[in-house]
């Protein structure tokens, strides 16, 4: 019986080998399109492996259409007064835009009922490609004025930890998208990943990402180089083109997302996990100007936990700037000074973080998000309670000085994405994508 099954397995293996070889050839002829979708479709061979595939009913059908519930790593944003279109004017409900990854495409979909129902999805990249679609490295969407929709993501290039930053825009409110462009000018098969996107007051688009080119160069010259660097590129023609890549800073951490926000005058601020001397992986903060030169010396330190770790925690910070240009921060650390999820408020006039306090010390707490709404500040994070995952919030009515007890606003039993905040005028929503429930918008009582 064993022999038989071996032979049978052998035959099947060889057939699948021949078939995949044939597919590889045809894929190469089709300029990589088929190859990309083949690789994307791979989700492990053994049936016993727990899959991250959606358990939402509509996603179980083999022919399920692209959907925010079935896809991965969605990012959502509401249209504001500046960028709302006609549909969004109705019934005081802002139009919701969501991008997500599915089958090698980034899709855009919209909703005018706060995510209860969605319009059919539009493929941003018409040719499929491998896309990073995990909590930390996910597609992004930002809205410009009058129907401009900007989408970015990281394309997975061959090899471990490698990628290219991609961008595409729509000038017709997401009906059609320009052919995607690669933003990093360095095209080596190395890491150009974890891009973040923000607009400034003038509508210029900033893309900031983690880039390994300087580390690769140092390695070639047999020099040590701690971490990697951050690069950025700016578009001042509404996404038609981007200016040259610029370096923001040397020695950032390798695989944590970068938090970005605008200050009250619309200038872009970035917060990232840095590699300070001695492999201390605390956070740095900086204004990002369209034409700045690389930061010399050590960047401004926003968190000072003395977390020494050889490796990257895959756990980037979050940032929200108030009307007085104070940056409210949420982060994870396991340093000497603090452990677990932390909150603090960075003041640019003193270059110092104040009001530092623990959000949650539980080892199973993760992914803190912070959002300012006037004098109010909200924190959100997730925590495993021994049986399931809770999504928790805490609220400060005094600009971050004191905080309410935590409150669970949602739970899930299976895989869960990072949570995120989105706002619609003065309404606050938690966005959480979970394997069992799909994408949820949870109105937060204020």
């Amino acid at each position: 019986m064993k022999t038989f099954s071996n032979i049978r397995a052998a035959f099947l293996l060889s057939i699948s080998f021949l078939v995949s070889a044939a597919l590889l050839v045809s894929a190469a002829l089709l300029a990589g399109a088929t190859l990309a979708s083949n690789v994307q479709a791979n989700s492990g061979h053994s049936a016993h492996k727990a899959s991250n595939k959606s358990l939402v009913k509509e996603c179980l059908k083999p022919a399920a259409l692209p959907s925010v519930h079935c896809g991965k790593a969605p990012t959502a944003v509401f249209a504001t007064k500046e960028n709302k279109d006609n549909e969004g004017n109705k019934a005081n409900t802002a139009k919701l835009y969501v991008v997500f990854s599915q089958n090698g495409h980034v899709y855009l979909t919209t909703s005018i009922d706060n995510g209860k129902s969605f319009k059919p999805s539009i493929a941003v990249n018409r040719t499929p490609e491998l896309i990073y679609d995990n909590g930390e490295n996910r597609p992004k969407v930002v809205l410009g004025k009058s129907g401009l929709v900007y989408v970015s993501w990281t394309h997975k290039t061959p090899g471990r930890y490698s990628g290219d930053v991609r961008f595409s825009r729509s000038v017709d409110d997401g009906k059609t998208f320009d052919t995607p462009i690669t933003i990093n000018s360095d095209r080596a098969i190395i890491s150009h990943r974890f891009e973040s996107m923000s607009l400034d007051q003038q509508g210029r688009i900033f893309l900031i990402w983690v880039d390994k080119r300087d580390q690769a160069k140092a390695k070639n010259n047999q020099q040590d180089y701690a971490g990697v660097s951050l690069y950025y590129a700016v578009s001042d023609d509404f996404g038609k083109s981007f200016q040259d890549n610029r370096k923001l800073v040397d020695h950032s951490c390798e695989c944590c997302r970068i938090a970005v926000d605008q200050d009250s005058s619309g200038r872009v601020v970035a917060l990232w996990r840095h590699v300070y001397p001695g492999n201390i992986r605390d956070h740095a903060i900086a204004y990002v100007n369209p034409q700045s030169t690389p930061i010399q010396g050590l960047p401004l330190r926003a968190t000072d936990d003395d977390w020494k770790i050889e490796g990257c925690p895959h756990h980037g910070p979050d940032l929200s700037i108030d009307s007085q240009n104070r940056a409210h921060l949420a982060w994870f650390t396991k340093g000497e000074t603090n452990k677990g999820l932390m909150y603090g408020r960075f003041d640019f006039t003193e270059n110092k973080t104040q009001l530092i306090q623990s959000i949650d010390r539980a080892p199973s707490a993760s992914r803190p998000q912070v959002q300012v709404m006037g004098n109010h500040v909200y924190l959100m994070w997730k925590r495993f309670n021994g049986e399931q995952l809770d999504l928790l919030i805490s609220h400060s009515a005094d600009e971050g000085k004191t905080w309410s007890d935590s409150k669970t606003i949602a739970t899930t039993k299976n895989a869960s994405d990072h949570p995120d905040w989105i706002t619609n005028n003065n309404k606050l929503f938690a966005v959480w994508h979970t394997q069992s429930e799909g994408l949820r918008l949870i109105a937060v009582p204020q």
């Binding site: 035959f11 293996l13 016993h48 727990a50 050889e310 080892p363 995952l389």
Partner: protein
């Protein structure tokens, strides 16, 4: 015609077998790590000292650590080293090929198999923040201590000496 076809088919089958033999040899057993798995591992090692190393394909220091374990693996008693990959199912191929690459495919290899990795981390150690690499050193009585970050060669050699 039928004869010719049979000949072609048997030729195919022969070549198929040789292809497959290579593949099967290179295959390793990657056991699904579930909430009850650590208890099973402990039961299987009753009265024996061992080290459980948790790693991930997405963690460069972990890959360095596995390369170090490759150097030292022959000094471990049978079953003395257990590897647990904290990766989700979509990384199965990468995990397998890396274990083959560093010739650790014959060890006791496990891979996270629960849609909520938080549940598995909790089952291993509720006081663990999830940082990798992470190692648990068990003595014969299964008193254990945890180590976060890369293991040093000297530390492992010391442990090997002390447990023999």
């Amino acid at each position: 015609m039928a004869k010719a076809l049979t000949a072609v088919l048997s030729l195919l089958a022969v070549s198929a077998t040789s292809f497959a033999d290579a593949s099967i040899d290179a295959q390793l057993e990657l056991k699904p790590f579930q909430p009850e798995s650590l208890a099973q591992i402990e039961a299987a090692h009753k009265g024996q000292a061992f080290i459980a190393v948790i790693w991930s394909i997405d963690c460069p220091p972990c890959l360095k650590e596995l390369a170090l374990l490759q150097q030292l693996k022959d000094q471990f008693p049978p079953g003395g080293l257990v590897l647990i990959a904290a990766d989700s199912a979509e990384y199965t191929d990468s995990v397998q090929s890396f274990l083959n690459e560093v010739e650790l495919n014959e060890l006791d290899n496990w891979m996270f198999a629960d849609s909520a990795p938080e549940r598995l981390r909790y089952s291993i150690d509720p006081s663990w923040y999830g940082e990798l690499p992470r190692a648990y050193f068990y003595d014969k009585a299964h008193k254990r201590y945890a180590h976060s970050g890369s293991l040093k060669k000297e530390k492992l050699e010391q442990w090997l000496l002390a447990t023999q």
